[in-house]
């Protein structure tokens, strides 16, 4: 395991039943950077990031081959506990999904209560504050920690979900179209947050929005029909991509 890469994907293939949705994907995901995965619908990008923390384990008919190396080990090896893995590799979804009937505070604290280690009330409060601060939500909500999480605006809910993911101190954050349900102002807040968080975390974002990929990413990977066509720095991908298909996609000629 090099310290440079948080994740190393080698020859990853995935199937839903007979249908192969990922074909020999090999890529390194640089530590403390933002990597965006883009491509037209059905290209396998969501499946790909879900493979990075084994979200498909319980999907009937799903099969995977190849390696995803994290912390020096293949996450699909037998001895890996997927629950522990998901604590280290957290996920934020497209629709903000705070736990219903839980307050803002509880939504952030819940992960801590489930992960074994005994903590005092004060310790938990400290982690909640720190997580909400990192998610740029503390100043807005510090007086309202007892409000139901679901009473927040969509953009706040999404930042709450990010705070919840950060509370268990992950190394990698996976985000599956984290802004597609949000208005432009909330989107700008989340995008700024993503750029801030990349100083400490490795972030992988699936996005349909090419402009967003351009704004937030250090690296961009372009998928098409289950193949990784090209991966490079965002600057390179959006000014002079190597593959003609990438060029056609980002200039809106297809997809």
């Amino acid at each position: 395991m090099t310290t440079e890469n948080a994740l190393q994907v080698k020859d990853l293939c995935a199937w839903f039943g007979e249908n192969q949705v990922l074909k020999n994907i090999t890529m390194d995901i640089r530590r403390n950077s933002v990597t965006s995965v883009m491509g037209p619908s059905g290209c396998g990008k969501s499946t790909f990031i879900r493979c990075l923390n084994r979200m498909h384990d319980l999907t009937p008919g799903f099969r995977v081959a190849g390696d995803v190396i994290f912390d020096g080990r293949n996450i699909y090896a037998e001895k890996i506990d997927p629950v522990l893995l998901r604590r280290k590799v957290g996920m934020v979804f497209q629709q903000p999904n705070p736990f219903p009937r839980m307050s803002v505070f509880e939504n952030v604290a819940v992960g801590l209560r489930f992960n074994g280690k005994k903590r005092s009330r004060a310790e938990i409060a400290e982690v909640v504050e720190k997580s909400l601060r990192m998610a740029a939500l503390w100043d807005e909500l510090k007086e309202h920690l007892d409000r139901p999480g679901t009473s927040l605006s969509g953009g706040q809910q999404q930042r709450l979900c990010i705070a919840r993911a950060l509370a268990v101190e992950p190394e990698v954050l996976l985000m599956d179209e984290p802004c597609s349900a949000l208005d432009p102002v909330s989107t700008a807040k989340i995008e700024d947050l993503i750029e801030d968080l990349s100083a400490k975390y490795t972030i992988v974002v699936v996005t349909h929005n090419m402009q967003q990929a351009g704004r937030i990413s250090d690296f961009v990977a372009f998928f098409l029909l289950g193949d990784l066509i090209e991966m490079d720095t965002a600057a390179r991908m959006f000014t002079n991509p190597a593959d003609k298909r990438t060029e056609e996609y980002i200039t809106g000629r297809f997809g």
């Binding site: 102002v185 700008a188 807040k189 995008e191 700024d192 750029e195 402009q211 351009g214 704004r215 965002a234 600057a235 959006f238 000014t239």
Partner: protein, 220 residues
């Protein structure tokens, strides 16, 4: 909001300013070398040109990436396109300073035709125009840009004056022709520096007001 994007725009602004400072300094040193007959200063001008060339490339790259990655609109878009055009003008000013340097390299090996008065004055005004043009760019100050453009006439007049004066020297003594032509060229290069500063001002006015004032009747 959009803090990172603002930082990138700030970085572009600073890089433009750094390059502007360098080409101003190049012009200053080249003319100083000529006026004070200090040939050693010319090496400084050449050293600065290397840096200017690199910044020329850097600024275009920064602008291209900002456009590709940040999708700038409205005032931001005008700012970035202005920076690209100003970049070209600044690089040309650097080239003019090199042209002056080349003339000076010859002129400093021969006795002076006359003490230099108008050429250092032209250089002073041209540098001031460049400084004010960049100041107007940084502070989005269209009034300063308008004021600066007016000074271009003064530089043009000085250039004509230098030409007329040197003509009399050349007519009186053909021995001075080569040296006089060297000085006429220097005044021509300085006049071009002021023209580039004028172009920068026009870009600044477009950036601030969204109004294109190029190729119109002279200002009142």
């Amino acid at each position: 909001m959009k803090k990172h994007y603002r930082e990138e725009l700030g970085n572009l602004r600073e890089t433009v300013l750094r390059m502007g400072g360098l080409v101003e300094q190049m012009t200053h040193r080249a003319v100083q070398a000529l006026a004070e007959r200090k040939i050693g200063l010319l090496a400084e001008v050449r050293a600065m040109e290397t840096q200017v060339n690199q910044l020329h490339i850097d600024i275009d790259e920064i602008c291209l990436e900002l456009i590709a990655l940040r999708q700038p609109t409205a005032a931001d878009l005008r700012f970035i396109t202005a920076a690209m055009k100003i970049n070209t003008d600044m690089e040309r000013i650097g080239d003019q300073a090199i042209n002056i340097t080349e003339s000076a390299e010859y002129l400093l090996t021969v006795p002076p035709v006359k003490p230099l008065i108008d050429i250092p004055r032209m250089a002073e005004i041209a540098k001031e125009m460049l400084r004010d043009a960049l100041d107007a760019f940084v502070h989005r100050n269209d009034e300063l840009a308008y004021e600066t453009i007016k000074k271009d006439d003064l530089v043009d007049q000085l250039k004509d004056q230098v030409f007329r004066e040197l003509l009399t020297y050349m007519m009186a003594d053909p021995e001075t022709i080569h040296r006089s032509l060297g000085l006429i060229l220097v005044s021509r290069h300085l006049e071009r520096v002021a023209d580039h500063a004028t172009n920068i001002c026009e870009d600044v006015i477009f950036m601030v007001k969204g109004k294109d004032i190029r190729h119109q009747e002279p200002l009142p």
